[in-house]
């Protein structure tokens, strides 16, 4: 199982903040997961993290991973 979290505008537009998913036996990469969740929409402003580290490149996902999708940060 992997834990998927959503924050900011992304959580708002999906109407959810959290999702648990079993990894398929053939495995799943981060970019493949993004395609599944966001219908392949090429939103260049979508940001991702794996285990709380922001990542931009594709990578295989593993059981127990915590993946998050969010919009650009705006603090201060």
């Amino acid at each position: 199982m992997i834990d998927i979290l959503f924050f900011g505008r992304v959580a708002d537009s999906l109407g959810k903040r959290r999702l648990a998913m079993a990894l398929p036996p053939e495995g799943l990469s981060l970019f493949a997961l993004r395609l599944r969740l966001f219908d392949g929409e090429g939103d260049g402003r979508l940001r991702m993290s794996v285990n709380q580290v922001v990542v931009t490149d594709d990578r295989p996902l593993h059981d127990g991973d915590e993946v998050a999708f969010f919009s650009v940060f705006s603090g201060g």
Binding site: G8, R45, F70, S71, F73, S74, G75
Partner: protein, 153 residues
Amino acid sequence: MEMEVRLLPAGFDPAAVHGDFLARFGTLGAVTAFTGVVREAAKGAAVDYLYLDWYPGMTETSIQAIADAAAERFDIRALSIHHRCGEVRAGEPVVFVAAASVHRRAAFEAVDYMMDRLKSEAALWKREVGPQTDRWVEPTTGDADDLKRWSDK
């Protein structure tokens, strides 16, 4: 190097934090502090509150990284970052940043630097809500330019 970095889901009193910081580090010679307060209007529309969404764990780490970078980069002896998350009403403080040093320049610059980076690099997502407005705020090109000021060093 003394650092206090806090992510606060409830309100805080920046004057009290400032007073405490001054009492502890004022004798160094120079203390600079900045407080950001939620505006009552943005782009002509009244604002009731900001909602700052956050990612428990990652948000704290991202703010700590900014504090660590400031400590490394400037000749300061102490710093403080207090940042709200959750709902912050108009007129309430949302962020407080302070630095203490032996001479003023380092303290001024460190606070300026930390604020510029907090705007774009703290893992927070800001939503403005008012009677006629409900929108997620994204960093402006001005925020990006502010950040670039520090990239040449």
